[in-house]
């Protein structure tokens, strides 16, 4: 730890911070998507990464078919939203009265199913992985105040800021937003008041899907080679970030997502190029330390309600 700290401090140049903020913004978007569904269903959707992967494949196929970028992006959103809603209608809705363990295992099953389906479609050309070159132009860097910033980083930060702003307005100012907030606190009472469970859950899943599609576009620009494990590592890191931030609240979960993205960016900048393979180890070591100090979540108020379990 004592040797890592000077590296981290030295790595905090403008370039690294810009990249870390960009990664934090993408992870924050993913955290919101995961947190929205968790809020109303108390379900950690492990298949979230596969939704992003499906969107990335849509972009790759649109790119290979020679479609314009905007049409590829529309296809990406359509695929991810359709898959999200299908997942809610076919799986979550019939199972939502079951135990959290059943729901959790089900999302694992969906994740593997989608990954297997992607593999089956992908290997038809005897190779694994598809390039999505049409969106790669956004990956070019521009110079801002002497710092090279990739266009997609700026887009990621802007998209995250706008999406979070709109979400705050939606949750704070609209009737469906109020119902979602109530449902995430006490769904049973909300339903007794007349809040429609299917509408609220469906809307949360829809929003979550929209965010997954936006993330799919950004990640595909950053990594324009799509394979069945696309976004898998990012999803695991974000899930950890959501727990570290405090999964019970949308905003703490979002901050957790941003924090782990930012920390990953900074640590990545601090590590020598030949040592970046240790990035996950360094990030998860940091996570363990944070959870030991703040088990209820880095940004959560009060102590964990599970503390008396043992």
């Amino acid at each position: 730890m004592s040797t890592l700290l000077p590296h981290l401090v030295a790595a905090l140049d403008a370039q690294t911070i810009a990249d870390a903020v960009g990664l934090g913004a993408v992870y924050a978007l993913m955290a919101v998507g995961i947190g929205l569904v968790f809020g109303v269903l108390r379900l950690v959707n492990f298949a979230y990464g596969q939704l992003i992967m499906a969107g990335a494949y849509a972009l790759a196929f649109a790119s290979q078919a020679g479609w314009p970028v905007w049409l590829g992006i529309i296809l990406c959103f359509a695929v991810v939203i359709a898959l999200s809603l299908a997942m809610e209608r076919v799986v979550f809705r019939p199972l939502r009265t079951q135990s959290p363990a059943v729901m959790l295992v089900t999302t694992f099953a969906i994740a593997f199913l989608l990954q297997a389906a992607a593999l089956l479609i992908d290997v038809r050309d005897d190779t694994i992985g598809e390039p999505a070159t049409s969106v790669a132009s956004l990956n070019q860097a521009i110079s801002l105040l002497g710092v090279d910033v990739r266009k997609v980083t700026i887009v990621a930060v802007l998209v995250a800021a706008v999406a979070l702003g709109l979400l705050a307005l939606l949750l704070g100012r609209t009737s469906i937003g109020l119902q979602m907030r109530a449902a995430s606190t006490d769904f049973r009472t909300a339903r007794l008041l007349g809040v429609r469970a299917n509408t609220v859950i469906g809307f949360a899943v829809l929003l979550s899907g929209v965010l997954a599609a936006a993330v799919a576009v950004i990640l595909t620009v950053q990594q324009p080679f799509v394979s069945p494990d696309f976004a898998l590592y990012s999803t695991i890191v974000v899930l950890v970030g959501v727990v570290v931030g405090g999964i019970d609240r949308l905003w703490t979960a979002t901050l957790g997502g941003f924090a782990i993205g930012f920390a990953s960016g900074v640590i990545n900048g601090a590590l020598p190029t030949d040592k970046t393979v240790f990035l996950p180890s360094a990030v998860f070591a940091l996570v363990i330390i944070v959870l030991l100090v703040r088990p209820a979540g880095l940004f959560a108020r009060g102590r964990s309600s599970l503390a008396d379990r043992v």
């Binding site: 119902q179 907030r181 109530a182 006490d186 909300a190 007794l192 008041l193 007349g194 809040v195």
Partner: protein, 233 residues
């Protein structure tokens, strides 16, 4: 208006409610009293669709509402003031009230109904910008009643509205019930304060061990011996 026909509810092997039949006519206030564990709250939850009914039927204006989801029951014109208030502590008082609008069948007149709640409970208006969790128990109860009223229900179910409240606040709650009666809203009132409920309601059912044991009228309010005997039976 609201009719329960031989309703039974089971929690696994335990029969919580056994063949309960209750009639609540339009504009009536009907009480449901009994000791803890008698099945009173379960009866209300069975009406709301929050627990499955093992046998029997629940009718609203002659139409069965059995099998409807809680939100479906709420939107058919039945509102519940739940035990323990169940207000949303992190939302503001006004947001809690607005949540009650989810149970309305029509948005028309919603603002007037909120204003009407403000007139009935001035404290709710005064603290409308505060977080509901910052209110006292009595203030939260007023908010919970107001939240149910803005749904403009035909039938209002109360689950122990005076539970845990100071006597002075209990008076406020019963004054509100009197006002609700004057508005012609049908009420099914579950209460622990037996004598006061019997005196207040048009008719009161006494439940024990999941069954209706007695039907009492306001004239029976002074007959404490009969009530004690039924409670202990």
């Amino acid at each position: 208006m609201l009719e329960l026909r031989d309703v039974s509810v089971r929690y696994g092997a335990v029969a919580a409610v056994r063949k309960v039949s209750v009639d609540v006519g339009r504009g009536e206030i009907v009480g449901l009293i009994g000791p803890n564990g008698a099945g009173k709250s379960t009866t209300l939850h069975a009406i709301m669709g929050a627990v499955p009914v093992h046998e029997g039927d629940v009718l609203l204006d002659g139409t069965s509402i059995l099998g409807r989801a809680p939100e479906g029951v709420a939107r058919s014109g039945i509102a519940l003031v739940p035990e323990g208030r169940r207000i949303f502590a992190e939302l503001t008082v006004e947001e809690n009230l607005r949540l009650g609008l989810a149970g309305r069948r029509s948005r028309e007149g919603a603002s007037d109904d909120i204003e009407s709640v403000f007139r009935l409970f001035p404290i709710v208006k005064e603290f409308r910008r505060r977080h509901a969790g910052a209110l006292s128990g009595g203030q939260q109860q007023q908010l919970a009643i107001g939240r149910a009223l803005v749904a403009r229900p035909d039938v209002l179910l109360f689950d122990e509205p005076s539970l845990g409240l100071a006597p002075k606040i209990v008076n406020v709650v019963f004054e509100a019930l009197a006002e609700i009666r004057s508005r012609g809203i049908t009420v099914l009132l579950v209460e622990q304060r037996a004598q006061r409920t019997v005196a207040f309601a048009d008719r009161t059912y006494l439940m024990a061990n999941g069954e209706i044991r007695l039907t009492l009228t306001p004239a029976d309010a002074a007959d404490t011996d009969a009530m004690v005997a039924a409670y202990l039976s």
